[in-house]
Structures are given as C-alpha cells and as structure tokens.
Amino acid sequence: AQTVTQSQPEMSVQEAETVTLSCTYDTSENNYYLFWYKQPPSRQMILVIRQEAYKQQNATENRFSVNFQKAAKSFSLKISDSQLGDTAMYFCAFMNLTSGTYKYIFGTGTRLKVLA
C-alpha cells in the first residue's frame, strides 16, 4: 500500500525568505503523480503544483518549485520569497496512475506560518 509522510507538523518563515517543506512517499509503482495542495484558513483546497513521475525535470509554478527525487521517494516543496498569503496548511498527495481509480493519498500536512 502506498503511504505519504510529512514529518514537519509546523514550520515558520520570515516574509521574503525561502522555506522548504518535506514529503516522502512509499510505493512500488512506477507511474504516478505527486501534488502539493494548499489549504488556507478558508479551508478551500488549492492545487499548488503537480509532478508526473515520468518527468525528470522538477516542476515549477512561479515562486513554488519542487525537488523530486524518484529513487529516494522524496518530493519537497520550496517556496521562495514567502508572502503572508502563503500562510496555510500544505498537503502532499500521491496518485497511482496504474490502479485506474485515480484515488489520492494525502499526507498529514504541514502548517506553515509566514511571519511579518
């Protein structure tokens, strides 16, 4: 069974600084997606970034980038130039493409606080 582990329950960062959130996963599959979702105090889940496992190049979306290490089964999120609006819970998620069900498995989340 696949698992997703986020070992940092809480983190804080100064505004304009860079922070990295960690995520590791366990799977025997080779064809999958990985995601980072943001959940601000409004509770709305917002996709931050996705990574296809077959792509070696790390995904980037503006100030957000990932470090995808497939062999190590690691998928960290880097937030550059942190802004107050980045304060949120961040969830790492895994989806196995070969199962045909497209179910997501979520980590337990990291609560990020950006300090002014």
Partner: protein, 115 residues
C-alpha cells in the same frame, strides 16, 4: 461555472440522527470523491465514484453510504451519526480526460458536529 459546491456548509447533529451531504459539480466530471479531514490525519478517502451509477469504498467507509444517481451529484449519507463522525467533509471531482492535466477540484467543505 460554480465548480464543486457542497450543501450544507455546517450542521449539528445529535447521536443517532441521519443526514445527507450533497456534492454537485458542473464540470461534467466522471470521477467524484468524498474525504473527511480530521486534525493531524490529513484527508482520508471515504467513498468514490468513477461514473454515474457506480460507487466504491475508500479508506474509511464504515458508517457512510453514497449514491451517484446523476453524473453531477454525489451524495454522502450518515444513517446513524456518531460523535466519531465529527469532521470536515470535502468533496472533489476530476475529469481524467486525455490531454487534461490531472487535478482534483475540491468543494469548500462541510463542517459536521455530532453531539
């Protein structure tokens, strides 16, 4: 487009009462999912549907039932609510069409308190 909507936004139940949570999406998505979110647990899949008329169990299905009679709606039922079902419930949907980037679209959540 409204995207994914959930009704109600908040509800208080007494132990043993029943209720139905409604999820609706206007994106013509085939796949729909119900999750529950509890502190320190992340989101856990309750039930899901891969198309109209189909449902399947997720990670934590006990105490819940679902129905997908129409493609755009996915209903989550609690027949006899228990305090352990106090949680925030999220619905999500995805299209899985070739050429589209994989994304689950989430509703705003329903907060349920069972006394």
């Amino acid at each position: 487009n409204a995207g994914v909507t959930q009704t109600p936004k908040f509800r208080v139940l007494k132990t043993g009462q029943s209720m139905t949570l409604l999820c609706a999406q206007d994106m013509n998505h085939e796949y729909m999912y119900w999750y529950r979110q509890d502190p320190g647990m992340g989101l856990r899949l309750i039930h899901y549907s891969v198309g109209e008329g189909t449902t399947a169990k997720g990670e934590v299905p006990d105490g819940y039932n679902v129905s997908r009679l129409k493609k755009q709606n996915f209903l989550l039922g609690l027949e006899s609510a228990a305090p352990s079902q106090t949680s925030v419930y999220f619905c999500a949907s995805t299209s899985r069409l070739a050429g589209e980037k994989e994304t689950q679209y989430f509703g705003p959540g329903t907060r349920l308190l069972v006394l």
